[in-house]
């Protein structure tokens, strides 16, 4: 389980793209691996953008590992399963958080993204 040396996903600059499942949703979700910030997901009506940590957010997603964050961003993890297995949890505006996670499952702009080259 990875807890050390977590780097921002957006270090090399913002990652962004279309996410049709996020149409009608606006908000900022902070991403943590345990207590380490790895970035903020900005959602704006069908677009998602990953930016460095900072600024006010609507909801925080705390995951147990970098892999879980990547699955979350790629929409490959079911939010209910994630919560029941204690792999991640939402704090703050959880309703918006769930909308964002389900929206990413309908089509994520990060499915092909190589996050700092660490994921396979």
């Amino acid at each position: 389980m990875e807890t050390q040396g977590v780097e921002s996903f957006a270090q090399a600059g913002p990652l962004e793209g279309e996410a049709p499942g996020l149409a009608g949703i606006v908000g900022r979700m902070r991403l943590l691996v345990r207590d380490q910030p790895v970035g903020v997901l900005e959602v704006n009506n069908g677009r998602a953008k990953l930016v460095p940590d900072g600024g006010a957010v609507d909801v925080t997603a705390t995951c147990i590992s970098r892999d879980v964050v990547i699955k979350l961003l790629r929409g490959t993890i079911n939010p209910i399963v994630m919560a029941l297995q204690s792999e991640g949890r939402l704090q703050g505006d959880r309703e918006r958080g769930v909308k964002i996670l389900y929206g990413l499952r309908a089509g994520s702009p990060f499915t092909e993204t190589s996050f700092d080259g660490k994921d396979s």
Binding site: L84, V98, A106
Partner: protein, 666 residues
């Protein structure tokens, strides 16, 4: 629920015990402390000097609180006991129990008081399907606390038990040695806490909370006394079944105790509809919650398709490990239409256009699902067939048992099945959405299109589903497009939706009120004339109160006032004989054969849509309707029910009163 069990509940946390207050669960029964679909306590047995006290009485004070009165007897009933026990229990996220032992003798007593505790952490699916657990159970005892735990990978659930009296704690439970002087008592308080960090804290209820809920509902004044109890019972049971997900604020109705203390699309929507004139805020939470989980993608394991409204959301271990598809599961063909129907009903009743605007996208997605995925073979009708062949539901209409959709000769209908009420719901949903599109979403051309589609559906339906030789609508079209020719209660739902042509509706009404369908207590799910009929068959002969409430409402809307009143009266008389609480279902035996409606052995009680049935029946009797601005009252009350007043009905008008009294037939 068995008559030998006592249940208290609070949202999706509930305790089922025997009448002593003990829990002694076998792997396949439903005794225990449950939270989030997991049994956190499967054994909880009190002994005094090795004897399990005998029950004297049970005082079910509130839905979340109960008191057991017991005596410690050693031999026969002819020997008076000098030792009594009172156990007072309240459920929250776990439960709190106070045990009071009283010595009524002139002699002192030395007592060994033991409380045995254990937990199997069974998922409700494991209980239902008799499955073995895959993780490890463990127990930790310290001087003041017993921890019962279960671990499978990262899935950890624990129960913590502590006492306010010093005693011995070991892995089997708590042991107290008590010297009790003459005419004195001894008390211990035990706290049982269920820990599920995955889903956060459950809220605790109080009597004040229940009282506030009941007082916020309209006040009933009536001349038929049992109706007071039935009405209050319905409100209190609805309060008990309120379920907070912690995601959307507010509470929606869980489906029922013990198997269905979870979010269900169909059940929550139907109950919200029934409760509209009484607690419309429940509908708003239901709609928001279901919109949140509206499917966004195709997922055969979960029977999900974009725009579909969920069937069932579960939080237990098998869901966590995706051994069951309930995260959430979408195997309901009707919930998506019911979502649209309840949305329009809610907006018209409350004037809350904000929610309609908030959920416009979800409503459009739901309509798109009907046309693209609901009508899977593009024949113009919604039909269902599960994509998850292993753990999905075979029947995805409200009659979801395996044998419910059968021909008159008893042969099961091949899949996919297009049941008739689904088509009625589509018709109704499209007409209602058309109104929202025209009046709120400013999209008159879409409104026109939806109305055209609804009218076209009505014409085709009256042609394709009608069985001229039997004069009623087919239960379904089967996978080969043959008419499934059983006479069932489903035709009553066609009156509610308005899809039946007037002349065909008249024929259906005659069937609904015939001896074959109407038992005298209510309309059977299947007529006694049909091949599959069984008066104690789950969906093939029993009587379902919620079904009857919608049939009565449909009759009323179609202008059959006397027939609506007759069914309403019969159902309320049945409710009276059930102590004010209608069960999920009861036997379809003729009323002429039984002075009481016959109980169905495994019926859920309380069950949300049975709880909501008296509310919709009251609406039917008073003829309550909203035109979007005013409350319309048009009573049709049968003689024995006398006078009914419903005061402070909430709606777009603020609060209004409705009055009705029976009139002699002309």
């Amino acid at each position: 629920m068995s008559l030998n069990t006592v249940s208290i509940l609070d949202g999706n946390s509930f305790v089922v015990s025997d009448r002593r207050g003990d829990i002694d669960a076998s792997p396949i029964d439903t005794q225990g402390l449950f939270l989030d679909d997991t049994r956190f306590l499967s054994r909880w047995i009190l002994t005094v000097n090795g004897i399990r006290p005998s029950v004297l009485s049970v005082d079910e004070q509130e839905y979340f609180q109960v008191q057991f009165f017991e005596a410690v007897t050693t031999s026969t009933i002819y020997v008076d006991s000098h030792l009594s026990v009172a156990r007072k229990r309240a459920v929250g996220k776990g439960f709190h129990e106070e045990i009071l032992v009283e010595n009524h003798d002139k002699q002192a007593m030395d007592l060994d008081i033991q409380v045995d505790a254990a937990a199997d952490f069974a998922d409700l699916f494991e209980v239902k399907d008799k499955l073995q657990k895959k993780g490890e159970l463990y127990t930790k005892a310290t001087s003041d606390r017993l921890t019962l735990g279960y671990k499978r990978d990262r899935f950890v659930r624990e129960t913590y038990i502590s006492a306010n009296q010093k005693g011995q704690v070991d892995e089997k439970g708590f042991h107290f040695k008590v010297h009790l002087p003459p005419r004195t008592s001894w008390t211990v308080s035990l706290d049982v806490q269920a820990s599920n960090r995955a889903t956060g804290d459950a809220d605790r209820r109080s009597k004040a909370d229940v009282d506030a809920w009941v007082q916020s509902a309209p006040r009933l004044v009536c001349s038929w006394d049992p109706l007071h109890l039935i009405y209050k019972r319905s409100l209190v049971d609805l309060a008990a079944l309120r379920f907070r997900t912690g995601l959307t604020g507010g509470a929606l109705p869980a489906a029922g105790l013990p198997w269905f203390m979870a979010v269900f699309g169909r059940d929550s929507l139907i109950t919200s509809f029934q409760a509209m004139p009484f607690a419309p805020e429940m509908a708003a939470t239901t709609l928001r919650t279901l919109a949140l989980f509206q499917a966004r993608q195709e997922d055969p394991f979960r029977d999900a398709e974009p725009g579909k409204i969920l069937h069932e959301l579960r939080l237990g271990e098998m869901t966590a490990f995706e051994e069951r598809p309930h995260s959430p599961y979408y195997g309901a063909a009707d919930a998506t239409m019911l979502f649209l129907i309840v949305l329009e009903e809610y907006v018209r009743w409350t004037g809350d256009q904000g929610l309609a605007r908030e959920l416009e996208r979800e409503a459009r997605n739901a309509v798109a699902w009907i046309d693209r995925y609901g009508d899977r073979d593009h024949d113009g009708y919604v039909e269902y067939e599960r994509r998850n062949k292993e753990t999905g539901l075979e029947n995805q209409c409200w009659k979801d048992s395996w044998d419910s959709i059968a021909f008159a000769d008893g042969t099961l209908a091949p899949l996919p099945r297009a049941t008739c009420e689904l088509q009625g719901y589509v018709y109704d949903a499209k007409r209602r959405v058309a109104r929202l599109a025209r009046e709120i979403w400013n999209d008159p051309s879409w409104a026109q299109q939806l109305e055209r589609e609804a009218e076209d559906l009505k014409q085709r339906f009256n042609r394709d589903f009608w069985i001229p030789e039997r004069n009623f609508f087919a239960l379904a079209l089967d996978g080969n497009k043959r008419k499934v020719d059983s006479l069932t209660s489903n035709i009553g739902h066609l009156l509610w939706s308005g899809i039946a042509d007037d002349d065909k509706a008249e024929s259906c009404v005659k069937h609904l009120m015939s001896d074959a369908l109407f038992s005298g207590w209510g309309v059977r799910t299947m007529a006694s004339s049909e091949g599959s009929y069984n008066p104690i068959g789950y969906h093939v002969g029993t009587i379902w109160p919620h079904d009857n409430s919608f049939i009565a409402w449909g009759l009323r809307q179609s202008g059959y006032r006397a027939e609506a009143a007759l069914i309403s009266r019969a159902m309320l008389e049945a409710a009276d004989l059930f102590g004010g609480r209608l069960p999920e279902a009861f036997g379809g035996f003729p009323r002429s054969d039984t002075h009481y409606p016959v109980e169905y052995p495994t019926a859920c009680s309380p069950q949300a849509w049975a709880t909501g049935a008296p509310l919709l029946l009251l609406r039917t009797l008073l003829g309550l309707e909203s035109d979007g601005t005013h409350l319309i009252v048009d009573p049709a009350i049968p003689e024995p029910l006398g006078r009914i007043e419903l005061l402070d009905i909430p709606g777009v008008w603020g609060r209004m009163d409705a009055f009705g009294r029976a009139r002699a037939a002309h």
